[in-house]
Symmetry: C2
Subunit: 147 residues, 2 copies
């Protein structure tokens, strides 16, 4: 796995997702990269914070914008283990982020299920990066929940 590759950063996002799992949170993780540096990393904390908006992506966007000192994330790429929901895609659109790279699709809540272009027109999307690993973490979590 080459440093700086999509897989390289997705592995970091997966490590974040594993932190969420260990806290009994839906295991989604995200990192934001700018100029080859990771400027934000976050995982889902909706249960711990009692906050339906505390998805990994939302926290990563807030942290990255704070780090950069501006509300736009042009020049940045977000790596997220699962396809963003409508809320997160809407937030990514406002940020004008340059690229969204996600792992597993979310056929129930993913933004692409709406059939509407929610992201900013200049945002590049790459999907299916380490999809198996990202998906396996989710499946394991929900299987455990059902037991």
């Amino acid at each position: 796995m080459e440093p700086g590759s999509d897989e390289y950063y997705m592995r970091m996002a997966l490590a974040e997702a594993e932190k969420a799992a260990s806290r009994d949170e839906v295991p989604v993780g995200a990192v934001v990269v700018a100029g080859g540096s990771v400027i934000a990393r976050a995982h889902n904390l909706t249960e711990a914070l009692n906050d339906p908006t505390a998805h990994a992506e939302m926290q990563a966007i807030t942290a990255a914008a704070s780090y950069l000192g501006g509300k736009y994330l042009t020049g940045c790429t977000i790596y997220v283990t699962v396809e963003p929901c409508v809320m997160c895609a809407g937030a990514l659109a406002w940020s004008q982020i340059s690229a969204v790279v996600y792992g597993a699709p979310d056929p129930k809540k993913g933004y692409t299920t709406t059939g509407v272009d929610i992201l900013h027109p200049r945002t590049e999307v790459r999907s299916g990066v380490m999809s198996e690993e990202c998906s396996a973490l989710m499946k394991k979590f929900f299987r455990k929940k059902r037991d």
Copy 2:
């Protein structure tokens, strides 16, 4: 104006929007009401916080959920001066809020422009409450910006 009416709470949301305007923020305000009590009030702070997610509704949702100690806002109503965007509608969907009451439509960024049902199926929507006043505040703000 009857206490407890839609107009009553929308006036509070408008007061929040005016606070935003006085800070040179896009003037949108929101309040969340549960059992006849205001449990959260917020205004747009995207500029002050350098955060594209810091819309009035997002902050009001986070504050209300924190107050209630749970991530669901069933039994609550949000009053917001302008039609929520896709991000905020997505957040309101996650919260399962019982009702969304908004003032002015947003023909550019409002969630209804997508033509997709983003809100939770059990969320009631009432629109056009004090629409003129809510809209006037926005128009005044953007006119000043253009001057």
